[in-house]
Each structure stands twice: as structure tokens, then as C-alpha cells.
Subunit: 388 residues, 2 copies
């Protein structure tokens, strides 16, 4: 058994929107196909992976370092003990050979994309949905048959007024979501408060609205927003300041007793550990958003989960960034608190299996082997094209 | 005035050596040439840059994001107020447009390489050595006419015994160095102590020997080494643990009252700030090794210097990693404590101008305009070849 090829392509996920920090006019994502010589029902098994939005495709790093390392390794060194399947941990170590510690960005995305494809292949080779494989290996077999998801949107677009924002949120409710997220920090505080109140009017209660500043605020502005939005009782207040400014996050907690969320821009166990150590995050109410697809994949995410549990956090406090089926599988198989979802944007990567609509804020898990990409037609079409 | 082209190439700097964390068998570096339409003495002005060792060439990121952003910008938006020269700060902001915060690795190298080339061009356009330009702009004109440098070597090679290690260190003394650095953590503590004692025997005193664990140790091993080497009174004990494990660094300080050094694997002001906030580093004796060529260049390094000074640190406590002429200029122009030097390795990138030998542990500054690459023949040959 061996990997016979790894293909990689860059796919545009550009759009006209922006958050408080960047616009998405040139956004791309990497898609990879890990082709094996294993067969099931007469067809070769191919694992697929991609990176979630925000950090661009990683074609260069994949071609320069990570794919060549895997392809030049002794194939047996990448298999499990009895040689019956790929070993994601061994493949991970192979990719990270001769990489210095620290500096966790970009390469964490490249490795995360390949890692996703490897887990997809591993579950397909076992003929199981990935969430069942993960539950069996790491969680005593316990599976959540449905996962909480929230609708992430509310971006700034040129010409988008409060009425269009409300229309967007109504659509999410019609799709079955109960909690929605919107961007803040791209306009004045007064304008953002009008936007938040307009969204609360549509969804019925502040506890169903999360707001996301995308790391834009300094401490003073973060506190001004905290004091202004406290009265709404929001679902969470996300990434107020720079993701590495743990002191800002810790100080902000003294001004905001509602839930806060952060972590999508921390790309290693070590960076996540520093948030836990220094960020003043509260295990009884706050949320951790580390996204394996940007952060060296599930092999590293398992280390991150072990670290947070040693630090007194439940895995239920994790609701990953990224809105992808990989984190959905991890949520169902390892007992996370839920998953992000992009009903409107980053297509074909946003959203889950075509057969599992969102119902009352939850999505049920499909029964397809692997991550489940084949059950999402528009995504599978893009993936299949690169595996020729 | 404008940039007419930015060329990029990957250059191998492979060697058979290793430190405690990686081997260098496939190491590469990026070289870029920023070509302008400015002329001096009839020749067009070209700025050059490269990244220091350890983090690989960044051809993909340069080609995919950073060079296209600069080349597609309105050329006037990249100039200073009166349009007479490039503005490194504006070019930096152009490169970092639509980049999310956090995740500082790889792209920090790509940006650092271009930033170095831009400063080289800017100083050449002004007809000054870069260190004089920096002293004039940021340091009240004060220039150090010589800079402390130490010889970094003592790597592990297959078949390299203690005798060869001593020969290497003798060579460095013969070249004019007074302080040498060697790797530790790649063998047992007992073997490393024999190596350290052998080197002390050659250089005459422990205060002339620095040791570098390259982030390999857990806390227990870091403390074992600390307690075993304390008696030598070494120049410094470098990067004992993971570069992001600030708690390890802080706890280690309780077991080691000699000088410690770290920071070469922290690639942004924010990461450096976390070391200062949480790492327990002592401004009266410890050393900061942030390397602009891996860390978004001098534009970001200026932010880092401002941050450490606000935190009660002197710029004299900075001795950057990387052994390149860029940091040498920063050291002379902005009053750092010195610079690393690789007399033996990473050629043609290691070392300084051919005309300025090391004397009694210091190197004098040459008078060539720009960073001074033209005064280092073997390096300039490589650079010139990509600017055709």
C-alpha cells in the first residue's frame, strides 16, 4: 500500500466582501488529492483536502517542501504498524522533518491541507465516516449524531445597507440556523450598534447573534465596544484585538462578562497554549476557534485538544473556524461544541453534505466513508478534477 | 521614479551539518533583486535582499502574493512624500494588504527579503551606506564605526569529533573572533560537556563560549543542562526550549543566573512582545536575537525596537541571528549590541565585506552605498546574476 501521487491546485474563492481587516478580492484556497493504490469497490482510493478561507492557497510551499518530502519517503515508513493503512502521525512527522520550531503560519496551512486529505483516505480505506473512525480511536466510540452550527456572514459589501443585512439573516433562519454571526469594526461604533440592533430584531434575541471584529481593535476601542454591546447579551464577542495580544484579551475580560471567542489565527499547539496561559479566557463561558485546516491539521489539533484538557478546558468549548466538513467530523467524533458554517460564501468550500440540511441549528452527520466530500456535489466536482 | 521589476531566485545553501533540531541537507534561501529606473554614475540602481538560513527560500509566496502586490500598485504610492526615493514603510504596507493578523511565519521571510532589497535601493539612491542613512533617520546621526561579532559554528557533522571541533574554533580565533558559539543538545549531556570543555580549552575562558540548543529541550532537560553548565560562566545559553514556550524560558531563569539568549524563531513584533511580557528575560544580562530577514524586514524590526525600549530594554541587548550585512548595518546605525557571523557556513551569504576583516572581535563598517553587498564578491556574483 502506498501513496502514488499528491496533486495540488489553487482555486479562487474571491468575493467583493470585506471584514474589518481584509478584503477577499483575491482570496484563494489550495486543494490537494492524495492518490493511493488502495482500492474499494474496484476504484482507487483518493483522499482530498483544502484550506479554509483567509490564508490563501499554498501551492509554493506544497511543491517546494511538503509534497516532495512525502513522495520521497520510504512508503512503508508512512504506514501503520501492520501496513494496512496510512498513518497520519507518521506522514505528519515526515512532512515536518527539518522544519525549525516556531514561526507557525503558511506552512501550517500547507501541512493542514495534506493532513486533511490523508485522514480522508484513511477513513475511506477503513470504509467508515471519519467521525466514526475518530470516535473509535480517540473517544471511546462516542459519536454525536448531530452538531451545532451557526451561520457566519454579515460581511461588509460596497452598498450593503442594514436592510440587506437583515435580509441575509432572515435567509439563514429560513435555512434552519438559530444563531448567526456578523462582522463589526469596519464602520463606526454607532453604525455597528445600528447594524447589531437590526440583526437582533430579525433573529429575535441577542443571545442568537455573535459579533466578530477580526482582530481590528486596540484595547481602548475593544473596551468601548464591550461596554456598548454588553446589554445585548450576545452569543459571543469574537477576536476583539490582535490574535497574539494575549494581554489585551485578558484585560478585556474585566470589562465584559459575556462570552468571548478567539483562536482562529493561532496555528499551532504552542500558540494555542499561550492563549490558554496568558489570554484570561474563561473555561465556563468562552469559546476556542482553532481551525485544523490552517494549523497543521488534525494531528496537531489532537495535541491542542490534549493541551486544553490538561489546562481544565472541555473540548465542548471548541467551535472551530472554517466552516468545513473536516471540523464537522472532528466535532461529531471528538465531542466539540459545534462548528462554523458559511451558508453564503466561500463556495464550493462552505457548507456540508447536500443530504443533511440544517435543522433547528444542528446538522446531522452523513454516512459516507471519509470526510464526506463526495456527498457535497459542487465541492466534489472541483476536487475530482485535480485527481486525474 | 519607480520599481521596474522584482526578480526572485532560490539558491541552495545545503550542507552536511545539523543542529539539535534539523539538518541542513536541503536548505535553500531566496534572493531578490528590486530593479529601479533610478540611475547613479550612469548605472541603474538595483537593491538586493536574501533571507538568512533556517527557513528555506520563499519563491512561491513571493510569486503568488508579495511581488505582484508591489508591481501592481500605483508607483507613486510607493514613494516618499517628495517623490525622490522609495518609501520602505509604504512598500511594506502594500505587501501586507489583505493579510490577516497572526500566523507569523514564511510570509514574514518573503516580506523580509523584499524589505532588505528595498532598503538597499533606498540607501543607494541616497548614495550612502545604509547604516549612515539609518543613523540619520532614527538615531540622531550616531554611528558605531565597528560592531561586535561572534563566530557561530560548532555544528554536528557526521564523523566530527572533539579534535575537529577544537580545530574549527582555533580557526575562528585566527580570523580575529574573540567569542565563539557551538551547538548543544544533539548528543548526551555528558558528551556535550566534553565538547564544551574542549572548546573552552581552546578559547581560554568560558566567557568566550556561547552554547545553542536550538529549542530542543523540555524544561527538565533545560534545567539539567543549566545546572551542569552554570560553572563555566558561558557567554550565553541560547534557545533552550521551544521558542514559543515562554513559561519554560521564565522557569529556567530561576535555575540559571548566567546570560541567556533567544528570539531567532519569533518573526513579528507581536511574538517578540510576548517573549518580553512572559519569557522572564532579564534586561540586565540576557540577549534578544530577532532577525529582520526572517521577520518582515527592518520596517517591522523598527516596531520591535520601539516595543523593547518601551518595555525597559536597551537596543544594546539585541544581537540578531542570521550573520548578514543587513543586521550589521542595523547594529552600526541603530546601536545594537552586535551581530552573529558564520565564518564557515551558509556561503556565500555568511560573512561581511571582503575589505573589513574581523579584528579583536569587531568588524569595521565599509563605506559602500547601500547594504554593502557589492563589497562581498562571492555574494554579489550570485545577486547580480538574477538582476539581468
Amino acid at each position: 500500500m502506498k501513496i502514488t501521487a499528491i496533486h495540488s491546485a489553487s482555486v479562487p474563492i474571491a468575493s467583493g466582501m470585506r471584514n474589518a481587516y481584509i478584503d477577499f478580492s483575491k482570496m484563494t484556497a489550495s486543494v490537494v488529492a492524495v492518490v493511493t493504490d488502495a482500492r474499494r469497490n474496484g476504484k482507487r482510493i483518493v483522499g482530498y483536502g483544502f484550506n479554509s478561507n483567509g490564508r490563501y492557497a499554498q501551492c509554493g510551499l506544497l511543491a517546494e517542501r511538503f509534497i516532495p518530502r512525502v513522495m520521497s519517503a520510504d512508503p512503508r515508513s508512512l504506514l501503520n504498524e501492520d501496513g494496512t493503512n496510512l498513518d497520519p502521525h507518521r506522514i505528519w512527522s515526515c512532512m515536518m522533518a527539518n522544519e525549525k520550531p516556531g514561526g507557525h503560519g503558511e506552512r501550517s496551512v500547507a501541512v493542514g491541507v495534506v493532513d486533511m486529505a490523508v485522514w480522508d483516505a484513511v477513513a475511506k480505506i477503513e470504509g467508515k465516516p471519519l467521525y466514526r473512525l475518530l470516535a473509535g480511536r480517540y473517544n471511546g466510540g462516542a459519536v454525536d449524531d448531530r452538531v451545532f452550527v451557526y451561520a457566519a456572514g454579515g460581511y461588509y459589501y460596497p452598498g450593503k445597507d442594514v436592510g440587506l443585512l437583515q435580509d441575509e439573516m432572515r435567509r439563514y433562519l429560513d435555512m434552519g440556523y438559530t444563531v448567526v454571526k456578523m462582522k463589526i469594526g469596519g464602520e463606526s461604533l454607532a453604525a455597528d450598534l445600528r447594524r447589531i440592533e437590526a440583526v437582533i430584531q430579525v433573529v429575535g434575541d441577542g443571545s442568537r447573534v455573535a459579533v466578530d471584529a477580526n482582530g481590528r481593535f486596540d484595547l481602548k476601542t475593544a473596551i468601548e465596544y464591550a461596554e456598548a454591546i454588553r446589554r445585548y447579551g450576545l452569543f459571543w464577542y469574537e477576536e476583539a484585538g490582535d490574535p497574539l495580544d494575549f494581554a489585551l484579551q485578558a484585560k478585556l475580560a474585566a470589562h465584559y462578562d459575556g462570552a468571548m471567542a478567539t483562536g482562529e489565527n493561532l496555528f499551532s499547539m504552542q500558540d494555542a497554549r499561550n492563549l490558554i496561559r496568558y489570554g484570561g479566557m474563561r473555561p465556563d463561558r468562552d469559546w476556542l476557534q482553532f481551525d485544523c485546516a490552517l494549523s497543521y491539521g488534525l494531528v496537531e489539533y489532537l495535541r491542542t485538544l490534549a493541551m486544553i484538557e490538561e489546562s481544565g478546558w472541555s473540548s465542548r468549548r471548541c467551535i472551530p473556524h472554517g466552516g468545513h466538513q473536516m471540523s464537522l467530523n472532528i466535532a461529531a467524533g471528538l465531542g466539540l461544541g459545534g462548528n462554523e458554517s458559511y451558508p453564503d460564501v466561500f463556495q464550493p468550500f462552505g457548507g456540508f453534505a447536500d443530504t443533511t440540511p440544517v435543522e433547528n441549528g444542528y446538522v446531522h452527520m452523513p454516512d459516507a466513508p471519509g470526510v464526506g466530500f463526495e456527498a457535497k456535489a459542487n465541492l466534489y466536482k472541483v476536487m475530482k478534477a485535480i485527481a486525474i
